[in-house]
Symmetry: C2
Subunit: 329 residues, 2 copies
């Protein structure tokens, strides 16, 4: 009992629409949880107050006292500057600009707080509690609306000089390819994300191509989502299958590049598109076999993420655990 | 004097045509040197004996004794397995297959020996004694016949799970691009190396396009080299200028990808093509500005390598220094 109470951490997963919070012990067991809406429209003061409330709530629900909580980890939409704990200007937290989130939470809670971007936090979570346990070099990639990533190198999160490393979704894999939300062209995210798949499907509908995509969307391009394209593919639509296959081929190019750059033991893929199952994993593995160095391709495994809905809070808690461990005297 | 003699290292730069060897003190000062041909055609026994001879020669030339040499570092053509000190199967050391070079040299010299691939060794050399002094996160890229690289992350060489990390030249930047020597298509090396530039120039000559390239090569495609294309460009040939500009634009794509993945403070570029000067550095910096995240682009500097001809031996010595430091009790 004594032992457990000395190793409690709070993980806060801050999203554009909801805040998930958990009190977690050092083994990754969730002791108490809180879910609430972000209310991002209310501005940063409201959001910070909701985060602090959520932290207080999981502490009181677990029946522990503040002094038993070693640290707070926050996974935030990027970009952030993790060195100084500042959220720079995340697209899905409108109005936020250089918010010193670490300091604001520390002031309210009186508990040491650490900030990471959400993809880095999820990488740490999978490394410590999920698919990456026991390896030294692991790349975490999340493929959903966007494509993000986190790098575990020599057993530690590598986040770069100001914390922006791991932007796998914004590596160029087709220099003259489609424009990306980041301003660049031909980013992996512009070719292989849910957004890219939906865009390709929408274009077919706009051009009036008579596919199952158009039928499922009732002819309305605005109703085309990646999920809808996947469903059309599932039902045998050739065009939908080609859209998915091309997107996953590009994902494979991006992953093969990671193998040649990082020579990792493990690539862990999470995010909504992993529901595609082997339609995602098979082309990725094939691209690595075809494009990466044979010796490096042989030592890498490509596996699905394991933490599911808990990835955010466990990852955020893992950020605090890793930081506290590295700053111990 | 006592102090210096306790910190001597031997760096051996093993190449396909020559072996460079130096006795180096901990500050990177070269105390004695040896150059000799590799005589690769003689087979691995001959080559190993020549390396050992060279090491003995620099020791005796400096008038020190074996016990004053702390360690030997070898930079070898890749691929190698640095964990076990084995040269796997380098294309320019014909007949070599799984040669336990570390062990062979240790047996002959009785001095602890460490092996790295030549690009990683050069990265460590630039980091410790050259352009990268004082930074934490630095990417070294060599652009010549091929394109190689080495990663210094958090102040240490990151070489991956089996030592093949940093293969920047074999990241795909154009999935359907030209075939590469590695078997993949559209590698950075197939688009931006000296070999790629020569190939493009040769193709013009073969097609009978009347350019200065053809004139300088006297109509013989076999005589077209990257240097010749650069000379034609220098003299105002538009086609040659376009070949160079396109190659350097691809190099920029590859470097921008490194900025988004590694968020480094510094990219150090070495190798023969750096003779192009601003014709290389300007497009690289422009691609980073256009393609990488603004915050990451702001913190990175792109500079030429500083060690020149000494990069190989100083890098190899730095491998031994870094390894001895990390294995000290």
């Amino acid at each position: 009992m004594e032992c457990m109470t000395q190793n409690l951490f709070i993980g806060i997963d801050l999203g554009g629409t909801k805040i998930s919070t958990a009190l977690v012990d050092a083994s990754g067991r969730i002791v108490a949880r809180d879910y609430r809406e972000t209310m991002a429209a209310g501005g940063q003061k409201v959001v910070v107050e909701r985060m602090v409330d959520a932290a207080r709530r999981v502490i009181s629900e677990a029946g522990v006292v503040f002094s038993q909580v070693t640290g707070v980890g926050v996974g935030s939409p990027g970009p952030i500057d993790s060195r100084i704990g500042v959220v720079t200007a995340p697209p899905n937290l409108p109005g936020w600009k250089d918010v010193p989130l670490k300091q604001l939470i520390e002031e309210r809670l009186g508990i040491t707080t650490f900030l990471e971007n959400d993809a880095n936090a999820a990488a740490l979570g999978e490394y410590r509690f999920g698919a990456g346990q026991g390896v030294q070099n692991m790349i975490y990639v999340t493929v959903s609306t966007g494509i993000g990533g986190g790098l575990i190198l020599n057993g530690q999160l590598y986040s770069g000089t100001i914390g922006t490393a791991g932007e796998i979704g914004h590596t160029t894999v087709l220099p003259q390819g489609p424009y990306c939300g980041c301003g660049n062209r031909g980013c992996l995210e512009a070719l292989a994300s849910g957004t890219a798949i939906a865009r390709e499907g929408r274009e077919l509908v706009q051009r009036g191509v008579p596919t199952l995509i158009a039928a499922l969307a009732e002819g309305n391009p605005e109703r085309v989502t990646a999920r809808l394209v996947a469903e059309a593919a599932e039902q045998g639509d050739i065009e939908a299958q080609e859209i998915l296959a091309e997107a996953m081929a590009y994902l494979g190019v991006g992953m093969a590049n990671l193998v040649n750059l990082f020579n990792p033991e493990l690539i862990v893929i999470g995010g909504g598109l992993t529901h595609l199952g082997e339609k995602l994993f098979r082309p990725v593995r094939r691209a690595i076999e075809r494009r990466a160095f044979p010796a490096a391709a042989r030592v890498v495994q490509v596996v699905p993420a394991q933490l599911g809905d808990d990835a955010g809070v466990l990852g955020a808690a893992a950020v605090a655990m890793a930081q506290m461990a590295s700053t111990l005297p």
